[in-house]
Symmetry: C2
Subunit: 157 residues, 2 copies
């Protein structure tokens, strides 16, 4: 399990500078989303300074993880719909139209977070993605994210 290539490793080079998940952003989190059966998964251990209050992970980091993992989940679903495996072609880049995160419980810091994604519905241009964030088997946050294929207005000449 969890052994597909990472979606983000196949984003086009021009779109691989994301603070959350760009492989070319050395100051970024470099989140990696992989396929795991019907779901996608990202594992990430926040740095000690990524804290909200002592002992707990910053909600903004959780929101970032939910966001990037959802975009990559939409990308993986688009690839799958084309009959292409992750890594066989560039991963299509999606951007976030809407991000909703419900924080169910405080998320303890110092342990690995597991984000799982599942596409609830999709068309060629849009996907609605559901995310759970789990720590040591306990769901601490749930996300619902609307992803849209990157508009031409975000592509610089």
């Amino acid at each position: 399990m969890n052994n597909s290539p990472a979606v983000q490793d196949f984003y086009p080079e021009d779109f691989s500078h994301c603070r959350g998940c760009g492989r070319l952003n050395p100051q970024g989190h470099q989140f990696k989303t992989r396929r795991d059966g019907d779901e996608t998964v990202t594992h990430y251990t926040p740095a000690p300074h990524e804290t909200a209050v002592p002992g707990f992970v910053y909600g903004g980091l959780i929101a970032a993880l939910v966001d990037c993992h959802a975009m990559a989940t939409a990308s993986a679903a688009a690839l799958e719909a084309s009959g292409v495996e992750i890594g066989e072609a560039p991963s299509p880049r999606f951007v976030t139209a809407s991000l909703k995160v419900d924080f169910m419980k405080p998320t303890p810091i110092g342990v690995v977070l597991e984000a799982r994604g599942r596409v609830r519905e999709r068309s060629d241009r849009k996907a609605i993605v559901e995310i759970t964030v789990t720590v040591e088997g306990v769901v601490t946050a749930r996300g619902e994210v609307v992803a849209v294929a990157m508009p031409a207005t975000m592509i610089r000449a």
Copy 2:
């Protein structure tokens, strides 16, 4: 205008390590929320690496700004309800129950972001806060955030 003390400068020391807005987190953004008439305001210029795709601000950073600014807006409202000005007493600490951000347009990087907050409704324990993020007069994101007074389970002995 914008000249009230910052809410975050008066969070209790133990709760001033937030990655987004803690004055004691040297690796944090150190967002500062001030009162401006009926609203609150935070100004922030993202660092060049806080990018989504080249030219645009990372959505996770915008979510972080919305989140911290909303918590501080809830705190300012709680102070006001007690008849206390920002800085006259410790700012009460709120945590995020739910964070929703709608990204209306791509947010250009390299210029100052203005987040404005307004409390839509509140009780002693909870507030619903509306946020706009504006760049050069254009609203690029809107947030709706549910803030709750920090639960005792997040306070470490």
